[in-house]
Amino acid sequence: MQSGQIPILRIGTTLLASIQVELRDTSAQAFQQDVLKAIEKSRSRGLIIDITGLDMVDTFVARILTDTGRMAKLMGTETVLVGMRPEVAATLVRMGFSMQGVYTALNVDEGLALLAQLQSSQARD
C-alpha cells in the first residue's frame, strides 16, 4: 500500500488519524511517515491515533505506533492512542508489550480531553 491511504484530519491544532484498514508492514511504515509530514505541515500540537478499526495489533504494528508517538514528541507534538479494543489490549500485555512513549485514552473524546489537559499544563509551565 502506498502512503496517503489512511486519512489524517486536522481539527484546530490537533491531528486525527483513524486507522480503518488492516495494516500490513509497509502500510504501517508509510502511515508513520505520513503522520510526521502532516505534523510538520500543519504545526499541530497534538496527535490522536484511533485504532478502533484494528481487531489485531501485532508487535510490529505496536512498535510502529509507539515509535510514531515518540517521533512526534521530538517534533513537539503529544500523541494519544485511542480506541484500543479489549482483545488487543489483552493480547499485547500477554506478549509482554507496553505502550511506552504514548498516552492512551478510551476513545476520541477522551483523547481530545487529555490533549487539552496536557496543553494547558504545558502553558502554565
Binding site: 500490513r24 495489533v57 510490529f60 479494543r85 493480547t91 506478549m95
Partner: protein
C-alpha cells in the same frame, strides 16, 4: 490421546500479502471453531508474528492449518515451515527482548504466551519449523 485432525489447509508464504492471507485464514478457522474474541485475537496475532518471521527471515515458507478435536475439546493447530537461515541460538531468540530484525524481539517469546502449546525446531542454515496449538476455552 492424540487429537483428531478434522481438516487440513496448506498455504504458501512468498510475499507480504501472503502473511495477511494466513492471518485471515487463521481468524476464520478460529471463529469457525467457536473461539471467543480474545482467543481468536491471541491465535491470529501469534500466527501473524510467525508468518512475518517466515517472510522477513526466509522469504518463503509453508503454513499448515489444522482443525483439531480431542474428545470434547476443539482446537486449531498451525505449523510454520521454512528453509531459511534457521535460528542459531533458540534459547537466546526465545528469551525475549532480543531481535535481529529491528522488531521488538518479543515475537517468539510473546507468541508462546498466546497459545497452549508451542514447539520450535530450528537448525542453522537448514530452516525453522514452529507449531502452535490453541484450544477453545469452555
Amino acid at each position: 490421546m492424540a487429537a483428531r485432525v478434522l481438516s487440513t489447509q496448506e498455504m504458501k508464504i512468498t510475499s507480504e500479502d501472503d502473511v495477511v492471507l494466513v492471518r485471515r485464514a487463521v481468524r476464520a478457522l478460529a471463529e469457525r471453531r467457536g473461539f471467543d474474541s480474545f482467543g481468536s485475537a491471541a491465535l491470529t496475532t501469534a500466527a501473524t508474528e510467525l508468518g512475518r518471521n517466515i517472510w522477513v527471515h526466509a522469504r518463503s515458507g509453508l503454513v499448515i492449518l489444522e482443525e483439531l478435536e480431542d474428545g470434547l475439546r476443539h482446537g486449531v493447530r498451525v505449523e510454520f515451515r521454512d528453509q531459511g537461515p534457521g535460528i542459531p541460538d533458540v534459547a537466546w531468540a526465545m528469551a525475549g527482548g532480543n531481535s535481529t530484525a529491528s522488531s521488538l524481539g518479543l515475537g517468539l517469546s510473546g507468541t508462546k504466551r498466546l497459545v497452549d502449546d508451542f514447539q520450535l525446531q530450528s537448525e542453522a542454515g537448514r530452516g525453522t519449523c514452529v507449531r502452535i496449538t490453541k484450544w477453545k476455552r469452555f
